[in-house]
């Protein structure tokens, strides 16, 4: 499957379009704030269109994962090849993009959240130019991670996100923004170093024979890393179930667990969420957290199937702890944003639990939960943002009776809250059900305990609804304006998706089913 626009592949377009937008934004005059804003919205809007094309043309029957032939929209060019150095044979880094069932849903999510985040960014009024330049760079980084099939490229995109995020939180955030920004930076950077070292170890362990010349070529190509036949005899990561392979698995896992974030690597998240401006919280919860889970699927599972099976209970346990612990923490918060931050930890725990089940059902549930959680938390953060814009308050006890003041807003926010709670008929229910069903097959007790998380979730969400939307309105909160047209544009697509996927999730599941079955096959036996 190929699709080109002006001779350039669609994936390159969707990844680098924001860079183009960044250059335009930088060239626009400082004063012309609206031109800058509309440029960003247009660029991300085009991304949504491109994602739509990908969705329409995506062949649901091809599985990808470790088979180069069945990846779609592939673009592969040699980027760095060094022949002259005698020591390690030929070196190869390629510009290798492609998507399969693991990534296609994430691309849809990223483009949609990126677009809505850009609209939501209209409320930013300080240093607009710098803000949107960094925002667009961030979008490129996120999109790049989801389409890169070369580990080196993956790593570059992964790290490119760090600096924009640091500035976006640190410059446009709340009162404790500096602390939150540096904490985020350091946590992710530690993870990045672990990934770098593992990547290098993999690189030196993997060499494939070039069919054309017969040379042995070291490569960063992930698909070659997935093939056990390519491991050089006696290299550090060769063999199966060796200590070094477990160490490498763990190093990668910690990196991704920081991003997800899983207990005990989660402490940066509440700080970052609370201090970040609304659109950045939306991006953070909507897309950034998914990168961690995606990394597990794309790298840990197929490259280290032995480690994955070995650590499957460990993963599930961390998932369980995150679910319960996150939910309890959420219940204890009196800051609206912090509450959603902890609920994210809890919901991402469900993703990990589903993935750790290592069966198709659980994994489908996990990936669907990634998508759904992205949509739902985006709604919730936008909802907090709307209230904050009007009242400059976020304390749960500061509000009350918003339902009387802003009935339409309340309706939309409630749909989001109920979806987070897992109400049947809304999208959260479907993915949580699948995750738990899959997990139950693999680990009984862990799943049974985890399900209690749902009850706690129901408790804190209902309690929040009661505190914020119901009851008597404090005097200072009277005469709040209901949603504006711009705010409707942000909410409506998300709400439609929440309801649609709740009633009929098949289109989303179709996209990934074949790929995930293949992945399960690789991890549980076929690939070794």
């Amino acid at each position: 499957m190929e699709f080109q626009i002006f001779g350039v592949g669609i994936l390159t377009w969707i990844v680098f379009l924001p860079i183009l937008g960044m250059i335009i934004v930088l060239l626009l005059p400082d004063k012309n704030k609206n031109a800058i804003r509309y440029t960003a919205v247009t660029i991300t809007g085009i991304q949504v269109l491109l994602a739509g094309i990908i969705f329409a043309l995506f062949d649901r029957t091809k599985f990808g994962v470790n088979d180069a032939e069945s990846f779609q929209f592939v673009e592969q060019f040699s980027w760095i090849t060094v022949e002259a150095v005698p020591w390690v044979g030929r070196i190869e880094i390629s510009y290798f993009l492609g998507i399969d069932g693991l990534s296609v849903l994430m691309i849809l999510l990223t483009s949609l959240i990126g677009f809505i985040g850009a609209i939501s960014s209209f409320s930013i009024d300080k240093m607009v130019k710098g803000y949107f330049a960094l925002y667009l760079l961030l979008v490129t980084g996120m999109m790049g991670v989801f389409v890169a099939l070369d580990f080196f490229l993956f790593f570059i995109f992964w790290e490119v996100m760090l600096l924009p995020m640091y500035f976006l939180i640190g410059l446009w955030g709340g009162p404790r923004r500096e602390y939150a920004a540096i904490k985020f930076f350091i946590y992710t950077f530690v993870g990045g170093i672990l990934m770098l070292l593992t990547m290098l170890a993999l690189y030196f362990s993997v060499a494939y024979t070039d069919p054309a010349t017969g040379q042995s070529v070291h490569t960063f190509n992930m698909l070659h890393m997935m093939n056990p036949a390519n491991y050089v005899e006696g290299s550090i990561l060769s063999g199966v179930d060796t200590t070094w392979r477990y160490v490498a698995w763990m190093a990668l896992f910690i990196n991704f667990a920081i991003k997800i974030p899983l207990f005990p690597f989660h402490t940066w998240l509440p700080d970052a969420h609370v201090e970040a401006p609304t659109p950045i919280s939306v991006i953070l919860a909507g897309v950034l957290l998914k990168l961690g889970a995606y990394g597990l699927l794309r790298i840990n599972f197929p490259i280290f199937p032995d480690g994955t099976v070995f650590f499957m209970y460990f993963m599930a346990s961390l998932g369980m702890i995150s679910i319960i612990y996150g939910a309890f923490c959420a219940m204890a918060q009196d800051d609206f944003k912090k509450l959603i931050a902890y609920s994210s930890i809890s919901h991402m725990g469900i993703v990990v639990l589903g993935l750790a089940a290592l069966n198709t059902q659980g994994m489908v549930g996990g990936v669907l939960q990634m998508f759904n959680h992205g949509i739902i938390t985006a709604v919730l953060f936008l909802a907090v943002g709307v209230l904050y814009d009007r009242t400059h308050m976020r304390g749960l006890y500061d509000f009350g009776g918003i339902a009387n003041q802003m009935p339409r807003y309340t309706g939309i926010a409630m749909i989001g809250m109920f979806a987070a709670l897992g109400l049947p008929g809304l999208n959260g229910f479907v993915s949580e059900l699948f995750s738990f069903l899959g997990a139950f097959e693999s680990f009984r007790w862990i799943t049974i305990i985890s399900v209690f998380g749902i009850i706690i979730t129901a408790a804190y969400i209902l309690w929040t609804i009661q505190r914020v939307f119901l009851g008597k309105t404090p005097e200072k909160l009277e005469k709040l304006q209901d949603l504006t047209a711009r705010e409707y544009i942000m909410f409506v697509p998300l709400i439609i998706l929440i309801i649609l996927l709740g009633i009929y999730p098949a289109p989303a599941i179709e996209l990934m089913n074949t790929s995930l079955s293949q992945l399960v096959e690789i991890v549980t036996g076929g690939g070794r």
Binding site: V82, E159, I182, G192, F204
Partner: protein
């Protein structure tokens, strides 16, 4: 015999050009009546001409003046880097406000600069123990004076004094070590040393002592722990252009001499083993010793840099830590290890010079070197602020900058050679380094300038120089195969 000498002279052209420039500067300085000194431009032309002459040496692999000096790809690589650094330092010096107060003495300054360059060029090529020592001394003595050049500044005088004392002691120790080595092997050129060692020595203990002593002298030059004590004070006290020169050029030359000396003298050239390094030694585990020094440098350099407020001092400690990363390549000492050192050094010059240059520009405008006083500067000078951010991010080693590629290769080589614990420490220390580099960025951008502080205006020339440094720093992060190939070819040394 005369033929060989004549031929040797023709292969000595770059150094001759530098000497000629030095003489021209002395004469020209006599005729400089007004405040405006022409010597800077003369030196610029001289360096450029020497650079051209070096380009003609590409591809040669021989030794001239009876095995005194090697003209091989390895030396040429370093000479190119030295000339690039020299050109930048001269350009910086012409813009420095700190040096403006000494206008009438600038001829002297540039003369010493060319003297130092001569010493460093000899260092990278020297294949003889005596010449090695002489070249080191030419470099050192010129740099002692340059460090104290702004003599009305007490800090500068103190720095110069400290530098001389440390330098004199360590070069004395090194000379003693060299004499022991000559005594044991009966040879002064490193090729004969190698064959003498290969034939077997009956005093391994003395050999080890000699080598340790030589290591003291060389360790002083690269400011590796535990011979680093001079570096922070000297870096802080010296004029910023000279600090940059010491942090970059002097380190380049010293690494060249270390690699050549160890590689040629002490490796088994029988070709039987790739990892047969240090094989001509018994008694001490040299890999482990060097690895220990690398670890110390990384830990001490990075942890101490955390507490610094003076940007020059902070960069001094950071350069100690970078010497630690570079030493990892020396620990391996395979061809892979050496080529990664070359890659690292090439990228290192651009990012380090860049950071020093922005620091100098800021110090020109707001007369401060304190990181605390940088608050709000990034908003007043956006281009310079962003450039500084990129240089510091590159020094941290984040993609997509050159610094990432440098770290990638050196970490990769160490992993491939099985030094996993060493790389793990280097990784942790890289995270530590993020703290102090990002602190500068934070101060630049996270604070509003007060109302009476306007946007700073910089000359077009300074922006051009900045871009010349910035472009390679970024470009090498995304496209680096030419550099890798260049470095891969440049590990060839004469006689190996």
């Amino acid at each position: 015999m005369a033929e060989h000498t004549l031929y040797s002279i023709s292969q000595f052209l770059p150094e001759i050009i530098i000497v000629a420039t030095l003489c021209v500067i002395i004469v020209a300085d006599l005729f400089d009546k007004n405040e405006k000194s022409s010597s800077g431009w003369i030196l610029l032309v001289g360096f450029a001409a020497a650079g051209m002459a070096i380009l003609f040496q590409i591809g040669r692999n021989e030794s001239v003046f009876y095995d005194m000096i090697a003209v091989d790809p390895f030396a040429v690589f370093f000479k190119i880097l030295l000339v690039i650094t020299g050109l930048f330092i001269v350009a910086f010096s012409m813009k420095s406000r700190e040096l403006d107060a000494y206008k009438s003495r600038m001829g002297e300054y540039y003369m010493l600069l060319s003297g130092m360059m001569l010493g460093m060029m000899l260092m990278v090529g020297s294949a003889n123990l005596l010449l090695m020592y002489l070249a080191l001394e030419i470099t050192s003595i010129s740099s002692y004076v340059l460090v104290g050049f702004t003599k009305r500044s007490l800090r500068s005088a103190e720095a110069s004094m400290k530098y001389i004392i440390y330098g004199a002691v360590s070069s004395g120790v090194m000379l003693y070590g060299l004499s022991l080595l000559i005594g044991i092997t009966g040879a002064t050129d490193i090729y004969s040393v190698n064959s003498a060692l290969a034939a077997g020595v009956d005093q391994p203990l003395i050999l080890n002592i000699a080598l340790l002593m030589i290591l003291v002298g060389l360790g002083f030059k690269i400011a590796i722990v535990p011979f680093h004590f001079w570096a922070p004070d000297v870096y802080e006290g010296a004029p910023i252009t000279i600090t940059a020169l010491l942090a970059v050029a002097s380190k380049l030359a010293a690494f060249a001499i270390i690699i050549r000396f160890f590689k040629v003298s002490f490796t088994d050239n029988s070709g039987l083993t790739d990892y047969g390094l240090w094989t001509l030694f018994e008694g001490l585990n040299w890999n482990l010793l060097l690895a220990g020094m690398a670890v110390l440098a990384m830990i001490l350099g990075n942890l101490t840099a955390l507490k610094q407020d003076n940007i020059k001092r902070m960069l001094a400690y950071s350069s100690i830590s970078h010497a630690g990363y570079l030493l990892m390549g020396l620990v391996i000492l395979t061809e892979q290890g050496i080529s990664t050192i070359l890659i690292y050094l090439f990228i290192y010059i651009f990012m380090t010079l860049g950071a020093f240059y922005v620091a100098m520009l800021f110090s020109n405008k707001v007369s401060t070197e304190s990181i605390e006083a940088y608050k709000g500067l990034g908003r007043r000078a956006p281009l310079q602020g962003v450039a500084m951010t990129i240089f510091l991010v590159s020094l941290t080693g984040l993609p997509p900058t050159g610094g990432f590629i440098a770290k990638l290769y050196i970490f990769g080589a160490a992993i491939n050679a099985g030094w996993i614990w060493l790389v793990a420490i280097a990784g942790i220390m890289t995270v530590v380094s993020l703290f102090y580099y990002i602190r500068v960025v934070r101060n630049l951008f996270f604070f509003e300038p007060s109302d009476d502080e306007d946007e700073l205006v910089f000359s077009t020339m300074s922006k051009v120089i900045l871009l010349i440094l910035l472009i390679p720093t970024l470009l090498l992060g995304v496209y680096f195969s030419p550099l890798i190939e260049f470095a891969g070819k440049s590990i060839q040394m004469f006689g190996m």
